[in-house]
Symmetry: C2
Subunit: 341 residues, 2 copies
Amino acid sequence: MTSFNVAIIGATGAVGQEMLKLLEQREFPVKTIRCFASPQSFGKTVLFKGKKIPVEKLSENCFQGIDIALFSAGKKISLAYAPLAVKAGCLVVDNSSAYRMDPKVPLVIPEINSHALENHSGIISSPNCTATVMLMALAPLHRQFKIRRIVMATYQAASGAGQKAMTELQEESRALLENRPYTRTVMPFPYAFNLFPHNAPMTASGYNEEEIKVIEEAHKILEEPNLRIAVTCVRVPVLRAHCEALNVEFENPITAQEAKAILQKSPGVTVLEEWDQNRFPMPLDATGHDHIFVGRIRQDLSNANTLDLWAAGDQLLKGAALNAIQIAETCIEIGSRISRN
Amino acid sequence: MTSFNVAIIGATGAVGQEMLKLLEQREFPVKTIRCFASPQSFGKTVLFKGKKIPVEKLSENCFQGIDIALFSAGKKISLAYAPLAVKAGCLVVDNSSAYRMDPKVPLVIPEINSHALENHSGIISSPNCTATVMLMALAPLHRQFKIRRIVMATYQAASGAGQKAMTELQEESRALLENRPYTRTVMPFPYAFNLFPHNAPMTASGYNEEEIKVIEEAHKILEEPNLRIAVTCVRVPVLRAHCEALNVEFENPITAQEAKAILQKSPGVTVLEEWDQNRFPMPLDATGHDHIFVGRIRQDLSNANTLDLWAAGDQLLKGAALNAIQIAETCIEIGSRISRN
């Protein structure tokens, strides 16, 4: 079997660490692996298959000989280095927002739109984590019943702001419980036992950039540029899985039973509903799991052809690292263009 | 000035404790105060104006001589003892759900429908905390622009399940941070760094009783029995203030500026919006404050005549103790029937 020279850019971050674990667990055909990170990580090592891999510095020529470059080091790094990786012949899978809305770049959730992988110019984007959780729950329903409008409120975990935010949430909580002062360095507002509307930069519309990403990326992935979506993104003091309250109006009549039957058959989705126990997906259910969990599928009481649903997904896995690796796997599977250095 | 013999039923609970503080802070005309609680609190005392008040046992005849009885000891106690209090000549203000939907019982948020206090049969109900936060933000807008439909997702604090739930959230968080096991006794699911759909009993509709309360109580308070409301109630690991993401469709065109101007003039409401700082109401803003905080008032991107809003309110204050005391104050002010023993 063909194997590949793989690079992870952002290997010491929360997503990069999950990527390393997933490449190993999923027996991704890795010939060699190289790990890149920010200057503060130079000299460190990361673990892959029990071996210590040195953390390297990004440079203009560092991508020579690499087949697949998995980027998860933020938008700026992707903007600066992904084109160099493509030039060196890499297939780039980018977890940042840098290229997601570029018409030449496929934006892919393999379970939903793997056909978009057939044509690319070297870069493939993996969507925003919040959009991914929403679309994994809704795309299968849209295919059969056509969604007219989505109103979503999110419950987003610390991991969305990286490993530092996760640590800060824990340390701030510890300090509060011990009546000690704590100085935040990551989040703009108190996070322990508190919550706040997502701090992504605000746009003129009054929706912040996180919310706009959800809307635009859903339009691109579903190929429905006019789908009506309202979204309120909120950071809650949870470590690593996002939840979403979804109110979804369809063009056609749909029952909760029909929706449940569709989702139960959808790849990458687990329906979790124990109505008599009030037992529905929680962040702890999703944490460490590949699937998006969906439950509380019920007829909306306020509108015809409308369902309310509740979803949870591991932000670091299907929301980021897993989806990126699934993109690379699907490219290999369908024989999409990957450099053979 | 006339003063009154006041009783608090549930005086050792989270709401009862706030009631005692508020009666003092607001210089409520208290002639005498008596405090009742569950058997496990007998022998304890509670503080009022620096004096230790013994906790008494509820009995058939305990309400003799009391003018105003503030009930906050749960539905069962209200069902059993409020009629006895009325029989003894008390004005009962009930914080439980026991009588809220009784057509003979006014359900009142004084800023919204104090006119309903003019006719009562001895019991007045204070609404569910989640309904109160929502209605404080929306009733002023409804009055001028007529709401057609509300889609709400909530972020509810531990205090909604009482003092024991607040303590459990802290203790479970502490245990988790210290890698110690913890045995929950209050909440049905892990709460520390986790969240879950509200555990109120499920109804056949797929909406739980908390959600049904919000819908039915809003209908009663606004006197709009057909107002369309969808709601998803969620418990988040926050101590004592509820937040709500509100998507509100109006019959008539309304701008975010118009809504903001109305809310800025609404009694009991504070608009908190610093758009350039992403600074909107948080649980910590509302904690300990009488007002409901509203912000992120923006035009909805998915629907005409629709606004998105974000609200936060102290569940124990305006959501419970404060509203009950405001009801009693308003009764005194308008000369509504109060026993003069």
